[in-house]
Symmetry: D3
Subunit: 68 residues, 6 copies
């Protein structure tokens, strides 16, 4: 019955369909292994956040990427 | 003053504008009826999640739909 | 498969166990009626927020309650 | 290490890139000033919600805007 | 820079400190392996939800546990 | 109408009532100044996360604090 929300940067950094499936499968297995949670009712939601909507260190990621 | 977040699958399964209005009205009335919450300050946010970003049972919904 | 998160004030305003059950049942039925969602995989999470942790109008709810 | 999520209406009301940067910088500084949190590990995520997906007072914002 | 939120039932079903550490480590490694995300800026937040605040199938988990 | 959720570490690092009020007031003013949002309908929710439930760099904060 766990609920997992994964937020990552989207746009040019967005995960592929295969990578999303790997995240869903991996985190579901992790919850089964560590907490014995039933995979059938484990829900995973992946949010892709535009790089101008994600900030760290007081700056949007899109600006940080430019500076590197 | 309640805050409600409803996540449903989007894309070809996305709710229509009328259905979204029905969800907003229905959940606001529910909170008024059960908890006597003031509808004027009840906030509802609906998120439509792409079917490849939503997982259950260790698989993305888009894969599950294909298997049926 | 919908996921619903309901945040309400806790403490002296916290819903009773019966009220929580009514919210869970009510919102699950709403999603079935409006969007034909399967109740068996509809997940509802209720968060009770302390009144000093909830703000509206620039003030914590606990201060607003005192002023009335 | 704080995590901040800001949800605002999108579409024609969406913030510009400059406004998003100002929100990220402003809330990061606020957490540093009030709680002495390290800006380097303060994460901010801005969600732009379509006006038909946001409800208040039992109605979608898009309907409320029309009535004014 | 990913942000992960894991919600599980609390109370008598709450994870131990060791299990929480295993979840944090496991999901951080998963994001590094699948998406090459930097572990140093991967944030994980675990929420323990009281069993009367979590619903599935239209009923609170605490009721479902009793029926078994 | 914005909704803001601020997550910080709790326990011995939890903000005081005065600090919570300063966060609520500060972020409400920020949204008014940057986006001209109406303070009356700006909602802020602060979550205090136990240090063993918050992870960064693959470790729970409570472990990181001990190592320093």
């Amino acid at each position: 019955m766990p609920y997992v929300n994964i937020k990552v940067t989207g746009g040019s950094e967005a995960p592929t369909t295969e990578q999303k499936s790997a995240l869903i499968q991996g985190v579901t297995e992790l919850l089964q292994r560590v907490l014995n949670k039933n995979p059938e009712t484990t829900v995973v939601v992946i949010d892709e956040i535009p790089m101008e909507n994600w900030g760290i260190g007081g700056k949007a990621v899109i600006e940080r990427r430019k500076q590197k």
